[in-house]
Symmetry: D2
């Protein structure tokens, strides 16, 4: 079965360093046989999350209460994807605003643990690219790793690539290699996870372990 790798470019520029590194990740994914697609987030209207789950946790689920924007089609691509790659420019040691809106709106998937007993992003795979001229790349990547993993994404070895100097990306051949390997790694991992368990989070696990006292979840 073909692996589908969905890539997000969170930069306003389609030929900038973020996009260039992402292109290499796409090449790495294709080399492993993946079908790929790039979504340039600045081309889409993605409204900010309205945090409605604070008032009613059952309201926050795909396809989201926010209407009249382009998120629905992005949601549908994520559902189809076996792996995603989020590439963002580094803006103040953090993702770009549109990348943040994407992340926040993806809450609908994670919250379906509560509304539907199953999170649609569980067991998918993720990699991350962060590009800037100076510092902050690891701060970005760390945040995205914790976030994506909390949404149920697996992270394959060395799923990160970044640019953190003033040098041209063309001079940073090791970074290009890292980026290509991000694409290869998420594809490789996605293949392996097809043989994975039906669910990665077992809500009955305490009972199964035989710990009667703690089996009843609060």
């Amino acid at each position: 079965m073909e692996i589908y790798v969905l890539a997000f470019n969170g930069s306003p520029r389609k030929d900038g360093n973020t996009a260039k590194l992402l292109d290499y990740a796409i090449k790495g994914a294709k080399y492993e046989g993946a079908r790929t697609k790039i979504i340039h987030l600045y081309d889409y209207n993605i409204k900010p999350c309205t945090g409605c789950l604070c008032e009613d946790i059952m309201k926050c689920k795909y396809p989201c209460t926010v209407e009249d924007d382009d998120m629905k089609q992005i949601y549908d691509e994520i559902i189809k994807a076996h792996a995603i790659i989020i590439a963002t420019p580094i803006y103040w040691y953090n993702v770009s605003g549109p990348t943040k809106n994407l992340i926040d709106r993806m809450t609908v998937f994670e919250n379906m643990i509560y509304t539907d007993g199953k999170c649609p992003t569980e067991g998918k795979v993720a990699g991350v690219i962060a590009a800037g001229n100076d510092s902050g790349c690891i701060a970005v990547i760390s945040n995205l790793y914790a976030t994506l993993n909390s949404m149920g994404f697996a992270i394959p070895p060395w799923a990160l690539a970044y640019k953190n100097t003033m040098r041209l990306i063309e001079e940073e051949k090791n970074r290009i290699l890292d980026a290509a390997n991000v694409g290869r790694a998420v594809t490789t991992m996605a293949k392996l996870l097809k043989n994975g368990p039906d669910y990665w989070f077992d809500s009955k696990l305490i009972t199964k372990i035989g710990d009667k006292e703690n089996a009843k979840i609060s």
Copy 2:
């Protein structure tokens, strides 16, 4: 083949919240058939990293230039392990000092990419537990995720558990469930990765992609 899950308790207390959550992770790992071992870091003499790779990158490799401490036996357990779980108390939004020394000394494995062309921790699996009475858990977990992944560890879905309130851990049944699932997830992932590739990072990938111009790594 049996999966070996190696767990680190970075807390000075063997019956505190960190250790209790780690015990549940161990139960989750055992439920999936893993062999397990807990190393209480405060029982070991782990000297700090001396950063010798700054002067000579070829010096930093297993079993480390630092001598006369207990790290050698920990290295040997890590080499044997298919998965590790790092559990740490939250000290100032960060790991404990002995946990930091463990992490820093694990540089020998990562740096063997340069000295030996292969990192011994590549393709192993990692999960993280952070326990405190207040804030900082995600700051700890984010740092450990980025670190462990940069050492070649894969991170399975929902590989994190934490405690971040004043409540007794016994009252935090969801946190106990999370911790048990960390043990289950790393074991499950380790089984899947046995069928993984020979290497996760392909240093020839740019050449293979056919990008002659960038194939020569700086």
Copy 3:
């Protein structure tokens, strides 16, 4: 002279936990005699940063190349303010999307070091509030501290307040106290900094120190 404290509510809700904590910060600021204003970011149209400084560093300056949104009036308030307080809900261990757009668009001030030799936010004061039901508060605050300080803001002692449990904010009296003290602290600091130096970053300092070799900045 009166101190002007400008507060941002980055939450979609005007009566949620973020807003409630911010209200206490405002009370603390007023107690110290400050004039205050709250800007609810979700009421404003703030377009994302387009990163134009990557192509021409001289383009990024107040009032920004992005047009036809509401940022101009926010810029003008920031210029007038002696202190700002950024209050954000915790969305994925991070600020909300609109808060991120605010931060990214504030680049125009920081970048005026390069375009005008002086950053308008230098020597102003900042405090931070982050509200959620669970984890991530310190991750948010750490990012904002590093960001705001890199824009030239001073951070007074204990300039942080957060909510990180499911409990009602009304039950979290220590958090309310923390928030009130954020308002007090930024006001108190702003008073002291009126007697501060003309510039906090001295671009001639290496020369003044007498280090002729390193005086010429690259």
Copy 4:
């Protein structure tokens, strides 16, 4: 009155990049008239924090329950200092192990809010330097800012300097300038804060505000 700036070198090397940047910070502090001292942490025996406050919050106070190491003399220097500068090498996107032990052991000061009603580090000033050959500098600085501010330290504008490339520090003249300005800024801020309030955190503030309902702290 003379300002005393206490600087910590968290690197094992006394002539490495961390130390070199710190030397420039010292020069900047001296230029503003400060008395200075550098403590090389690797020369001191600093045992890890034992987290005893988890069992009895009243036990954690200066001079610490941990005995027979060199921390007592460091505590005494911190008490005398008006400002501190923490310089650390970047080890895995984080401080070095000995720097972490220093931070963890400084908990005695912060916890005296509870034991003595007053934190000895309140109203002191802090700056941070992080040196490495690649990424992680902002992750380190962000953690230290949140930590030090939570201990009551004020952070002056641009109190950060770092090195994050393979280039020699001698070629990074802007980084040298940044470091010198860290020393200048903490000294300048320390002078201003001498006219500061008796206490920065007002535990009676809710009562003073007139909020009777919330005045009673839990």
